[in-house]
């Protein structure tokens, strides 16, 4: 059978969801942001909630996420997406409100906002892209940067004495009674993407059940910030990030 015979509408096995726009993403080649955007979009399509979903992203490489997901969107100030989400979800309790935040954003400047939104148990989904670095601003150290990992503000590697240990925000918020579903995933293989999708689906389903905050960390790469190819970034991530940020469900109530 020829390729051209296979490529027919009726044989379609996988294609870009319509909840993604046709805009070309500004992300670097291989950036995890693109994969996670897609997965969220697919969940929105599957649940048929495009009309009822509000995305909120603060600054970070995903500041322009609103160009890619075909839903209403709020662009928040650095670290403050959970505050916007709190208001949005309280004022429109029948909507699916999610934040999409980087590790610099959520774990550094936005630490108070995420902890309090989770503690109040706001009925929202939090997607936490942990690439261990500030991608957007040129690769500075994040609270999540691993020990010894070089960044533009830790050029000789993160020094625990100066900067403390990498911060495990996900474990931290799992301690708060307001969160009901807390999980850590990744998106570097097809299998990982499938699992991630299941988790995000569950998180959005939790909104239906008014279960409070669902929090999903995605351990990610930033090939530009890490100064590695996308492929090498995945390898580095598996070898270095996964041991420190172990994947799995941390809390499911």
């Amino acid at each position: 059978m020829e390729v051209k015979d296979i490529i027919k509408e009726e044989n379609l096995a996988y294609k870009k969801t319509k909840v993604l726009t046709d805009n070309e993403m500004h992300y670097c080649p291989g950036c995890t942001h693109g994969v996670v955007h897609k997965v969220i979009a697919e969940v929105i399509e599957e649940k048929d909630i495009q009309e009822n979903t509000i995305g909120i992203s603060p600054v970070g490489c995903s500041v322009l996420a609103y160009n890619y997901l075909h839903i209403d969107w709020q662009e928040a100030a650095h670290g403050r997406a959970p505050a916007l989400a709190t208001a949005t979800s309280r004022l429109m309790p029948d909507k699916y409100v999610f934040t999409y935040q980087g590790d610099g954003d959520l774990a550094s400047i936005g630490a108070a906002e995420i902890i309090h939104a989770c503690n109040r148990g706001e009925n929202i989904v939090v997607i936490f892209i942990n690439n261990g670095i500030y991608g957007m601003t040129g690769g500075q150290m994040a609270p999540t940067t691993l020990e010894g990992m070089p960044t533009s503000t830790s050029p000789y590697g993160r020094d625990i004495k100066l900067s403390g240990h990498p911060l495990k925000m996900t474990e931290l918020v799992a301690n708060l009674p307001g969160t009901t579903f807390v999980a850590r995933h990744s998106a570097e293989t097809a299998g990982a993407v499938r699992k991630l999708k299941k988790a995000i689906r569950k998180a959005f389903d939790n909104i239906d059940e008014k279960k409070g905050t669902s929090f999903i960390e995605v351990v990610s790469t930033c090939s530009s910030g890490w100064k590695l190819t996308p492929e090498a970034s995945n390898t580095w991530m598996k070898e270095n990030m996964f041991p420190f940020y172990p994947l799995g469900i941390i809390k499911d109530e």
Partner: protein
């Protein structure tokens, strides 16, 4: 003397450091210099450009709309800056990846096979030095000795061993200038 230059290409082609060496060379001969990059969210594969000015007098604006010379290293940059060359000015480009070459009739156009020459030298990293050499052949605004000093100053100590290779590439650039159009 005043020379206003734009250098533009992909990030990673050494655009910024080429400009830096040029600027440092200017300092070595006691000129005023400015080096102003376009800056943006740091992301791979985007375009990068830098405006470099060397002048005997104080420099007013480091950001310009027109240039004496444009050094162009990809198609996007050509599209963007061809019009910005002053009439009678110089446009210098590497044809690698250029699909529609410059078309202006009122400027001097040079083609430098920098990428190719660098590959030939077995060191693609010397690409930008070849281009720089070609530019300095066309516009010898800084003396060779000052270029050497500029290289020394702009490269961190640990790279100083590479200076001879760079000078060689600059020389190679001198020899690679191909005039396409003179006005």
């Amino acid at each position: 003397m005043k020379e206003e230059i734009i250098i533009a290409g992909f990030g990673g082609q050494g655009v910024l450091s080429m400009g830096k060496i040029l600027a440092y060379s200017g300092i070595m001969q006691d000129q005023e210099v400015s080096w102003m990059p376009s800056y943006g969210p740091e992301m791979r594969g985007g375009t990068a450009n830098v405006t470099v000015i060397l002048s005997d007098e104080k420099i007013s604006s480091p950001i310009l709309n027109t240039f004496d010379t444009a050094i162009i290293l990809n198609q996007q940059s050509l599209d963007k800056f061809e019009e910005a060359v002053k009439p009678g000015g110089v446009l210098l480009y590497d044809p690698n990846g250029i699909t529609s070459p410059p078309a202006r009739k009122d400027i001097n156009i040079y083609k430098i096979e920098g990428a190719e020459e660098a590959a030939k030298m077995g060191n693609p990293k010397t690409f930008n030095m070849i281009i720089l050499g070609a530019f300095l052949k066309i516009k010898p605004i800084v003396k060779n000795e000052n270029v050497e000093k500029g290289l020394e100053k702009s490269l961190p100590e640990r790279y100083h061993k590479l200076i001879p290779l760079n000078l060689e590439a600059i020389q190679k650039g001198h020899d690679s200038v191909k005039s396409i159009q003179t006005v």
